[in-house]
């Protein structure tokens, strides 16, 4: 960070008004200025101006941040906090301030596992086997704490048909309204294959031909959040090729069913200036796209009491709050019940919860209290990290609440079988 950098210029948008404080999970948990968005921006600015050193304290605070970006939603000055955080974390890595086993392991997992579909598939299968053999308790004792926590957070491993690649092309049902590409996603494919299938079904029902382009990569969001921007850029480059430079005529939209992936793709213009702008402009969250284009197929009745919990990277990073609610409300019989703090972070934040299990649990607790008070039959949210965290929390409390992606309910309303229902 220096006074000529783009990062420094970005920090100057902050006028230190503090309106972000009450929306920051780590400030609310600690009460500390240093652990608030305003504090972190001030630290970045202080480092650039040479008022403080880029040291372990700065590194700790920047990694304590969940990256939920709730601060961006309330920032009157329009500070692009998420982008600042990614840049600052990258500089921490460059400065060698991310040392120790945890970060090394994280980087290894992100680069060599998450971004490699075959390896990830094998790994998830292995976990499935471990669980089937009831070895998971043993594993919990043997594995490093962070890995053990991660294992515990994973939902039941879906059967392999659901973990197979999505069909590369599915025709529209009825009159064709357009042609969209779907980002399959790394975690989504392995753990939430049913969501992918539901997404395709709902899209085709509503007149869209769905292509799942060859050669697409992980979106790179988790890598960027961890400060591995260079790897994120390489992934983005592959996606630019897969979604905008092959496959004939341009797509009407590139649809994602994961809020984190959608946010990363929409902002990939910042990683690859000029190169990725086209992809960013095409990207739509599934709920956003359906809301924008309108449902042509009438959903059937679902007598359900449903809560919708905003994924941070949908509501704060993409500014989408109403579209999923409108979609759910379009299902006859479905009662959408509000719960307090719906747009507050659930404490998952990608890989953050693995490094901060206690604070994550406290943040999740507040969320679960609100959910419990609303007592829905189904709790919906549109991001794999949130789905995992919420499911683990609901299960730990022994609540009889199903956790699902909104698109799954829509698919059910269209009368589709629900193979992956948990």
């Amino acid at each position: 960070m220096d006074v000529t950098s783009e990062l420094y210029e970005g920090t100057l948008d902050c006028v230190h008004c503090g309106l972000c404080l009450s929306d920051c999970p780590t400030y609310l948990d600690t009460g500390r200025e240093t652990s608030s968005p305003r504090g972190r921006i001030y630290l970045m600015r202080g480092v650039a101006e040479g008022q403080i050193e880029l040291g372990p304290g700065v590194a700790d605070e920047l990694h304590l941040c969940l990256g939920c970006r709730a601060c961006e939603s309330v920032c009157p000055s329009g500070v692009r906090y998420g982008a600042l955080l990614e840049r600052a974390r990258e500089q921490l890595v460059d400065a060698g301030l991310r040392k120790g086993q945890g970060p090394r392991l994280e980087r290894l997992l992100l680069r060599s596992l998450l971004a490699r579909p075959a390896r990830l598939h094998a790994f998830i299968s292995a976990i499935g086997i471990v669980r089937a053999l009831r070895l998971d308790r043993l594993a919990r004792r043997l594995l490093p704490a962070a890995l053990a926590n991660a294992q515990a957070l994973l939902p039941p491993i879906p059967p392999s048909p659901l973990r197979a690649p999505l069909p590369s092309w599915t025709p529209a049902v009825g009159e064709r309204r357009g042609r969209v590409a779907l980002l399959e996603g790394c975690v989504m494919r392995e753990l939430y294959g049913a969501v992918g299938r539901a997404t395709i079904a709902v899209l085709t029902r509503n007149g869209f031909e769905v292509v799942v382009p060859e050669g697409q990569a992980c979106c790179g969001a988790l890598h960027a959040h961890a400060g591995d921007l260079s790897f994120a850029r390489s992934l983005a480059e592959r996606n630019v090729v897969a979604f905008t430079e092959q496959g004939g005529a341009p797509y009407d939209a590139v649809v994602t069913h994961s809020a984190g992936c959608g946010a990363a793709m929409k902002e990939s213009g910042g990683w690859l200036p000029g190169r990725s702008d086209g992809l960013a402009a095409l990207t739509r969250d599934i709920c956003e796209w359906l809301d924008e284009s309108g449902l042509v197929a009438e959903p059937g009745r679902l007598e359900l009491r449903v809560c919708y919990d905003d994924p941070c990277h949908l509501v704060h990073a993409q500014g989408i709050a109403d579209a999923p609610r409108r979609l759910l409300s379009a299902i006859p019989g479905l009662e959408l019940v509000p719960h307090a703090g719906a747009s507050d972070c659930c404490g998952a934040a990608g890989t953050w919860s693995l490094g901060h299990p206690e604070m994550s649990a406290r943040i999740l607790d507040a969320k679960l209290d609100a959910i419990e008070a609303a007592s829905p039959a189904v709790l919906t949210s549109g991001n794999p990290g949130c789905l995992m965290q919420l499911r683990a929390g609901v299960e730990a409390r022994g609540l009889a609440i199903r956790v699902a992606h909104p698109i799954e309910l829509l698919a059910e309303a269209y009368g589709m079988a629900v193979p992956g229902q948990r």
Binding site: C14, V15, C20, L21, T30, G31, R32, E33, I52
Partner: protein, 493 residues
Amino acid sequence: MPGVRPPQEAPTSRSDAELIAGLRRIVGNEHCLTRPEDLFAYGCDALTLDAQRPAAIVLPESTEQVASAVALCAYLQRPFVPRGAGTGLSGGAHPTPGAVVISLTRMRRILSIDADDRIAIVQPGVVNADLSAAVAHHGLFYAPDPSSQQVCTIGGNVAENSGGPHTLKYGTTTDHVIALEIVLPSGDVVRVGSDTGFAAGYDLTGVAVGSEGTLGIVTEVTVRLSPIPEAVETLLAIFDDVPSACRLVGRIIESGMVPASLEVIDRRTIEAVEASVYRAGLPQDAGAVLIIELDGAACELQAQLERVRAFAYEEGVRGLEVARDDAERARFWRARKGAFGALGRLAPDLYVHDAVVPRTKLPEILEKICEIGDRHRLRLSNVFHAGDGNLHPNISFDRRDPDELARVIEAGREILELCVAAGGVLTGEHGVGNEKRDYMGLVFDDVDLDAMRRLRDVWNPDGLCNPDKIMPTTRPCMESNPKARGYDAVPID
């Protein structure tokens, strides 16, 4: 006088080690912060000029911990500075070098709510808006609503006697606080006031509210809650210029109505708001927008609304919108409450002034303020509480440019002198802090200030509690003292 001073290094010595060890014993390691990053982050509040570094920050969770920390500071003769959310705009929570910051953000429990008697007892770290949210189901709210109410704390509001857009009708914090628990600078704990609203003896509650944390640290606040009005009407009146908006304000007030609020934002502020997340769909070519909020019994509001409407057309309003529902009301207010932050987009720094003038002098004062801004080649915009004459001239600037910074400070001085000469004062709701203390001589003479010192010295004899706030460091300037010139009947041209 505010300005960029090189940060002074905190004195590190054996006494620092002793202090920090003691503080850690009181609040626990986790809640005593001493990393360089922490000392830097707590160097200022929302006024970033003139930041300094404290020796440590403690985040106590109880009155006992506050009292012990204060007693330790008193014993070691170490200055200490209370802090809420740090949203103050006058540097009231700025530490002096080597001071201990006592942050109340972890004392954020609402201790009791009595809906029948309409009072609540809260810890100082409770966020203003959270209190209103917590009592809403009783049909009650906490009336003082500073623009930062989503984040600022009740304790900070008490220290600054915070106002907000609705003070015109509901008054400021002092009108809603009836009792306090205070840790005196000696470490002793006292209770002042009473939950009946009256306490025999000197009005120590009234004196403590607005004392900017210099008389002690408030650890418990008993507040009055107000009934949510039966009906609310919010209007957005669009004018070609600020004087027309001010004329409508005059018509409304002189007709005997007491609206809940009368807020004006000028053209430059409109532009900034519309470019921010708080955009409210205001016409960008308007010269001024006036938000009028009427509240009260449903039966009388319609007639008032019609009167306002008639006045507005007589004063040449360009457009008049009445909020149809709460969502639209929220949209009007979003523009007003997000204005400061939105102005932050215009430049790296924002200087928010807070002078007050007699309401009837607003148009001419505003014109002169704009002239001052133009003369100093500054980007100056105005947001103000038109009903009570409370001005917020905002200057967008870049403090890294020393020449511009000097012009900002000079313009600020001229604005304050102008307002005082018109019978006004330095601050209506932000406090004097360390920002305006050297301007106190514009309003008060030596004898007036001496009376204030008498009060402060009784509570804070060693000056350890929030030093360098309110009282000036320099001798007041007699030339500019209105009393020396024949009191305050100084006409402006």
